[in-house]
Symmetry: D2
């Protein structure tokens, strides 16, 4: 199956790409190149840029465009690029989508506008207006802890009826909701139902999910790709074993520091320690300082065996 | 494996028993008898009384004792009875546990005290004091939407080291947390890791969970027992198919009426329409009125085929 | 105005009485006696027992009854006693209310049942059933951070039309809601609109509120009584000055320790250090250990001048 | 006192200006001009543009700049203009601030970055970086229901020590927090402590607050200006009476429709019915349809007498 063909269902592990930075408004170009190769070489079936893990909303529009341009160019012909266009301003989302289309992106990804507390009927109307203007197919991004407003299940059912909407990435962690989507999406074989949290990749795929947007795949793409394949082929024992490993990776790596941003910081710091890219972060975050960095280094040592030979 | 033996791990489907009432402070005795036979006859591997579905916290202590006495007597020698002792007052929990032990219950079940906002260190101390006084093993009941305070994963890890604590029922709906518990409980083969939401019974069991406390098993015990068995034996196709049915049951039956109590009310009303027991509810809930009752009747008709031949 | 007369509106500062304990299920009798004298002698216009500050839900029913009996006896003829009957079980609330009536209490106080997630229509029905059975007038207790379910403003408007409901204690901290109640309660001059958080006693009284259920009045009753009087008589400068002091007391005394229980623990520890009563706490809380106790001692020294000469 | 002088403390009623639109990305120019005259003529002491009520985050950057330019030009020499620069991207906030400075704005206003869940230490660092780059003084905007992250009181205390930060607009509705700020701000006589919710304007001003950013002042500026003056001069009876009116305005006008956006929609619809400006709204909101519009018309009729003769 050629997952890059424009009519193929997106599936497999699609990392939410970190955005390597060397300053608040400057890309770490070498790091970005290495990161793209590292993930694609490790079995990633696509790249999702400008998501939460990619610090999308924290970046200037200028830098977002530069990132889109570079990743699309580098991945061209090898893997589909999905571009986050989530924004509180409709007009800015549309402009970014047009730019992404021009650069060869495969689809755009949008969470609900995340400042105003819109109701679900307004959210449906927003989506209806948005897909009218979009030059690319749309994937929904459900992330209620950050957007406050979820894509409620009825809104997802409506979306499944819109040809231009081709899937969802669910980062809610709510597997009941995920099961409800699987049930509803039976009507659209081309619809991608992707799970966010990597602790759920095994269960989600066993139950029929199409893949995962796993943050950990930035650094250990083989582990998540293997976990996905095991679950996809119904190898229960191996699924449990690889999921156990993925959970341990998270326990060690995403729990350093006091702030809710521990996951993104842990990933970016680990990527830096592994020589992939710099760990500079855009405000409002900052990279780990020395003590946390040492804890990440120790965690990487501890999990070394878990992420090999997969 | 004799799941009633006092040293066997609790597993399989254990319904959180509805409490049939004929008045605010009076049991529906015939209904209760029928309900116990209906669930045990349908494959339930135990009975959990005085939980949320059983309206435990809404019942007088006198009635709670009467319920314990009757269910223990009826189930004696056939299935283990687990008794909810969740309370805001430590002394009342202990007294109820003693009564339950005298009546032959197998274990008691406790959620965190749910009025005061205790921290996790206090919660661990609470558990330490509690198990000192308990004449029976304890199963944790994680239900943060109602108790506000969760059993945080570190508290569960501590609990896994306490011989007197023998399992957890997780109703959080958070599968990442559930996976973390599975990982930690590998150290205790006698520990029961049970899932609350029936939409997750398939996924939880596939990943290694020990069973479910499925509300729907009050009325359709065979469906949930079959789903559990399919997942337990690794029959992926049948697991997906039966989980799909279970999700549809929930979509039809637990979404009637505007209030968050829709699940309990839907179940109790359906049980009444099926001739199992009365649908009287203790304050602060009230049974469905006529229009909702008719919608439940229609839903039962719609899902009729889903719950047969399992 | 004789505020003890059964038809007078309850007003002024009414402390939510700490429950002095010498063990989990035993009152500190001498401490209780001293506490009642300390508060009444300091200007308290009534006593509210078995509230949150009194750890009501954490106490056994036996102990709750003993507390009611003793406080009613000691306060008889001097100040009205309000008894918390908040419970998840309707039958237990009613029984406690009957006992309170027999002992001479002036009114009972009830928050919404705090386990089940009832809707507002159910809550109104609950109140309607409850007042039918109550031998005493009822005061609502709005405490959404602990009960999850609030008394929504429409429910309060309904309550204002019920002769048997005579007021509300609002601990939500939401002054917009408080203003809405003041507006609605203009129709019932006998209705008491009391504010919970002591940081709001000045503003609430200036805007027309009837008094406060101020936790700090357990230890510094004169400060809160003086603040209430200043605001009641429109002395703006003195209100601001005394409110400033009350805020400083809270900043110093209620912020020790990491847990959300800091307020109750700070108060009980301070009361112990002031020689009023023991600081034993019922589960799920425990009294401050040595380091926190020393910080409370230091805080008391710091605020010494603020609470004198009022 | 010349409140337009660059060193004077901002105080009084400063409306959070609606943004009159004739399309998603086009200003209603005549409406905007009328609205500015209506508010300034009604006693507004400044104009706050691009806040929540102004739908700031929903507008394109191009339109935001046009709005800044026009309002600054129209208000020049008459009233200070405060410009919302709240953004998830640091670089965009700074660029907007520079533009605002060039156009003659008096200060900029920023809520915490509202997508990422930064901790308070990160938020302080963010502010430290931001004020280094800002060409204008900064006013904090505390709006936790929409930003998720609040300016915690310790962060506000830190801000009070930064000369470049000159005040806060608190829209949390948490008067305890507001009192704590008043206490802390005694050290900075030039600091403006402004209240958001208009139901709290009376209480906040009586306790020492410096004014209000009252949405209702878009349409009834005289009412809020009069309420502020009454409270500022200590006229308790008139404060209560005018606050009562302001609360009734809110009860009638901000409770139409099912969605949490009722306040902004009610205001914009009322402004349209009063002939001030169009009621077009940017996504994700839409203007009221006919039935809600008729209810707003009826509400305006009902409250007509409340907002006159002030």
């Amino acid at each position: 199956m050629d997952s890059n063909a424009s009519n193929a269902r997106l599936e497999g592990v699609i990392p939410p790409l970190l955005t390597p930075l060397r300053d608040r408004d400057a890309l770490d170009l070498e790091g970005l190149e290495r990161l793209v190769e590292h993930t694609l070489g490790g079995g990633a079936k696509g790249l999702f840029i400008l998501g939460t893990t990619g610090e999308g909303p924290s970046l200037s529009y200028r830098l977002r465009r530069e990132l889109i341009r570079r990743v699309c160019a580098q991945a061209a012909g090898r893997a589909p690029v999905l571009v986050g266009i989530t924004d509180t301003a409709f007009v800015e989302s549309v402009e970014l989508a047009r730019f992404a289309a021009d650069q060869g992106a495969r689809a755009v990804v949008a969470a609900p506008p995340y400042y105003m507390p819109e109701g679900q009927p307004e959210l449906r109307e927003y989506l209806a207006h948005l897909i009218e203007q979009l030059p690319l197919p749309l994937i929904l991004y459900n992330m209620p802890p950050l957007t406050k407003v979820p894509y409620a299940i009825d809104t997802v059912r409506w979306a499944i009826e819109q040809p231009k909407i081709i899937g969802i990435k669910d980062s809610s962690g709510d597997m009941t909701y995920f099961e409800q989507i699987l049930l509803a999406a039976q009507a659209r074989p081309d619809w991608s139902v992707l799970i966010g949290p990597e602790e759920l990749l095994g269960a989600a795929t066993l139950m029929g999910g199409g893949g995962g947007v796993s943050g950990g795949a930035n650094i250990f793409p083989r582990l998540y790709a293997a976990l996905y394949r095991a679950a996809r082929t119904g190898d229960l024992e191996r699924t449990r074993e690889l999921q156990r490993r993925a959970c341990l990776v998270g326990e060690k790596l995403y729990t350093i520091g006091r702030h809710p941003s521990a996951l993104i910081k842990g990933l970016k710091c680990a990527a830096a320690l592994m020589g992939i890219c710099l760990d500079f972060m855009a405000e409002p975050f900052h990279r780990f300082r020395k003590p946390e960095r040492e804890r990440v280094r120790a965690a990487l040592e501890e999990i070394k065996d878990l992420v090999q030979d997969v």
